[in-house]
């Protein structure tokens, strides 16, 4: 499992990387993609949508099940990763580069962990 140190992690297994310009990008962790199995469908929000921290903003589906992806922050969707819509397996290939959305005007965030804390948390088993 790979948890880069340049970002924070939520208990619901999303990562959020805060950039210097005040924006953030969001994806799901390596642990999440491993648990989900082979992904065959991703449903992303639209540019301009307002996300609320702690609430679902996207869905990922494997053959067997659908899972909500929870937003770690409150803010506005500046950009979405269209490539992911066409190729959900990119998430399995490299969860850390498979960003879902870029968020701006961030005003709130959920409880977040650093990479080390998240690694311990994920290892304990959910």
């Amino acid at each position: 499992m790979n948890y880069p140190k340049d970002r924070m992690y939520a208990k619901t297994h999303e990562w959020v990387r805060f950039e210097n310009d005040g924006t953030a990008s969001i994806g799901v962790s390596d642990f999440a993609q491993h648990e989900l199995g082979e992904l065959v469908f991703v449903n992303l929000p639209m540019k301009g949508d307002i996300l609320k921290s702690g609430e679902p903003f996207a869905e990922v589906e494997s053959v067997k099940a659908v899972s909500d992806v929870i937003s770690p922050v409150t803010g506005e969707v500046e950009d979405i990763n269209e490539a992911l819509s066409d190729n959900p397996q990119m998430i399995n290939e490299d969860a850390n580069t498979a960003w879902f959305v870029k968020i701006k005007n961030i005003s709130d965030r959920t409880e977040l962990m650093d990479a080390g804390q998240y690694e311990e948390f994920a290892a304990k088993g959910d």
Binding site: V40, F41, N43, E61, V63, K64, S85
Partner: protein, 288 residues
Amino acid sequence: MLDGQVRYSPMCNNDGGVVDDVLVYKISDEYYMLVVNAANREKDFAWMKSNLKGSADIEDISDSIAQIALQGPASASVMKKLLPDEFIPSKYYSFKKDVSLDGVKCLISSTGYTGELGYEIYCPEADAVKIWNLLISTGSCCGLIPCGLGARDTLRMEAAMPLYGHEMDEKVSPLEAGLGIFVKTGKDDFAGKAALISRGDPMYARVGLAVTGRGIVREHCDLYLDDIVAGHTTSGTFCPFVNAPIAMAAVKTEYSQIGTKFEADVRGRRVEVEVIALPFYKRSKNTK
């Protein structure tokens, strides 16, 4: 039925709904083996016991028997490596009993819950691991892999085979599930026959759906035709061989023609689907 024959049947309740779908193996005029859905084991046993007539009796032998399904175009090759032809059931829906597989007494039928050639092997439960290991090692010649219920579900979906609790249940009649040929009312009395006759022509039909929009449409999605709820999906998932999301649905018969388009309500989002012919996958004529 003939000795050595297997028959599939929906077992009806007195309202014409389905208690379970079962396979009936005729061993002799005096002895039949019934194979039921494991989830319905107690219910089926109680139903059958309460409907016994004359000197008939019934015993639940589930705990003493294991069943391993060997399915796929190469399954015949695997069987031929294990047994001479005379012990391999050749006709679809037939079986051979008292077949010795590595010293284990088995019953083998040419049946299965996939759209391909295959066999179901019944053995004493204590020998199940031995038979499993024998199949895995013999099958390594032919690309045999173990698979579980997830694979089983996509295989039966692609073959458009109904699953109890989805395409039919205690309220749904066999005719609504597309299984009318198994409950012909022209024959002798059977449980539910009167109810099926009085129910008349079914108001719902089982159809296959191709997902033409974006998304995976699973069970329990309402299907809209403009503002009307035309029906609902009963099963659905992304299927690996057809490489697409597909679904089966119960729709009002007047909307069941091939080509009819609906919008499926998938967790609040509308996804376009279209009625297509079943089955989704048909085995090629080159495999027996």
